[in-house]
Symmetry: C2
Subunit: 332 residues, 2 copies
DNA sequence: CTGAAAGCGCTAACAG
DNA sequence: CTGTTAGCGCTTTCAG
């Protein structure tokens, strides 16, 4: 900077002001300085600027991982979320620092903040980290979480209204005349739990008994979902519809069903959750609950900004509409 | 830092040395200081450290995007690459700054470096940016690229041996007794072009004529791949095998083929490229060319480190083995 | 082995 | 409108 100050015949302070668009500078001088900066490919050193101004325009995106499953981020949902967050942050002039943190040591996130690397962070993948996240919040680490809203929650979360989504998915199947509707997913934890609750509520509303034999426990990974579906088919429980807790599960389940001679949607109507890109292009195209990730990303960013300002924004549930495609509807 | 210096009754210089594991410090003092830092959740400010020491432990990952297709990173291959790079960089104690840059303004990458935000960067997705990348290299921006090796290339690239992969995939199909083998993908540019060359070479070696009618142009997106396959089927060109330039294309093509009454692999044997997670779990499981992304990520990092040291590492082609699954082989 | 002092590149008062 | 001065939090000679 001192270099171009010399070239322009002014002080570094003037250069700094010019480059930051200060009002208190003669337009003529500003333009001369800008031109020189351009010509010499000069850019202000971001680190020094932050150090001096106390500001920090870098936000963290934390994706916890389990040491056991290396590279487990197999769900397309995550990539999509990541892309939308990157877009939202870029748009708001933030840099995005990606951090893989061991899921059992989420407290390491604090170091990201304490060391000044990030001004705040988004954690995507809440799973069973509730306590650790609460601890972070208590330490006043600016953090927002993509996930469900839990009792005794000290941090701000943004998620979709999973119970309502589950309800609408199931009711849609009922409206298609289906009665023996299976649920597939991990009904005990995280977001899937709420989707399951919605499923139950819809059945109850329409006077259909909840049959525990039609609940198919399944993790979110493709292979395990397929295995779970195979095991279920072996039991010969008759079903005429399936609501899966994620598109990935739904698509893999459809594959197994098809391979075993069932027709989708004729024999089994299927609804998924997330509306990932693949859902539109599966065979048949998958009816699903759309998660508005662009909205979600902006909401996460917005909330994070509020947290960084010391406020305590309320957690939010975004509504997610049903998208009807061929997997749940007989052709007319 | 001055705070814990006071607490320890020493100068900040001593604290700095202790925290950086300097030899020239009494172990006893060091431990006392470390303990204090722990207790007070003190972490050195990364920015200030960098500023003073001139070092920078942040690397950039640049994912170019086209303004036209918002959020085009739909290919699971990218996420996987991203995850592996994040792992490799984390392991080597680097932070990872994710940056979405307009594909038509790759020169903006230079600002990332000039402003000191990153010490170097990996660009993933070379496509048609050859000239822009060359310009970056000429500006001495430390950059390495995932992609093919091109003539007049001033930057270092790491990629897989696409021609060889294409060759092996095609030869495998020939060895299965197939003769009318179609190629599907964008045979004119990028990595697909080299895969196509390998395809041609294998046909030639085995005395099979290259039939341009069996070349199915297709982009990498699911929807367009399906449309391309539908159009091809409408032409009633008989084929008994298909080599697709990516798994995503292959899986979508298989879907269309199945929907149209062809059996895979009986009527049409299919081989893909990449070995993404979904390939193992498709119906039927997809034979494909495995891209060793863990190796690739480490190679990219290694090369980048060399570039940052001012050296000019040679571009590399990683070998990618064929993985045989059910989509190309009749059950015995 | 440790402290004092200088300075990384920049911005923000405070004076002119 | 612009220059001078001080200092963000840290590391690193250079002296003790």
């Amino acid at each position: 900077m001192s270099d171009i100050a010399k070239l322009a015949g002014v002080s570094t302070a003037t250069v700094s002001r010019a480059l930051n668009g200060s009002e208190a500078i003669r337009p003529e001088t500003r333009e001369r300085i800008m031109a020189l900066a351009q010509a010499h490919q000069y850019t202000v050193h971001a680190g020094a600027k932050n150090l001096r101004s106390g500001e920090n325009r870098t936000l963290g995106l934390v994706i916890p991982y389990r040491a056991s499953l290396r590279m487990q981020v197999t769900d397309p949902f995550f990539l999509s979320m990541l892309g939308h967050l990157a877009d939202a942050m870029t748009e708001a002039q933030y840099d995005l620092l990606l951090s893989r943190v061991n899921a059992d040591h989420l407290d390491e996130c604090a170091a990201l903040y304490d060391s000044g690397r990030v001004a705040g962070m988004v954690v995507v993948g809440q799973w069973d980290h509730h306590d650790q996240l609460n601890a972070l919040a208590q330490r006043h680490v600016p953090v927002v979480v993509w996930g469900v809203q839990l009792p005794d929650q000290l941090y701000c979360s943004v998620g979709s209204d999973n119970a309502r989504g589950g309800f609408e998915a199931t009711e849609h199947l009922i409206q298609q005349g289906r009665q023996r509707i299976a649920f597939m997913g991990d009904y005990a934890s995280g977001e899937a739990k709420f989707r399951y609750e919605g499923y139950c509520k819809a059945l109850q509303k329409h006077g259909i008994a909840i049959d525990p034999l039609r609940v198919i426990p399944s993790p979110f990974t493709p292979l395990e979902a397929q295995q779970a579906m195979h095991r279920f088919c072996d039991q010969h429980q008759p079903i005429d519809a399936l609501f899966a807790a994620s598109d990935l599960i739904a698509i893999n389940a459809m594959g197994v069903l098809t391979a075993r001679g069932f027709k989708v949607p004729e024999d089994v109507a299927v609804v998924g959750y997330d509306d990932v890109d693949a859902a539109r292009h599966s065979f048949p195209p998958l009816t699903t609950i759309h998660q508005p990730l662009d909205v979600a990303a902006r909401a996460l960013l917005q909330s994070l900004q509020e947290v960084m300002q010391g406020r305590q924004p309320a957690s939010r549930q975004l509504s997610s509409p049903l998208v009807i495609r061929a997997s749940s509807q007989l052709p007319k």
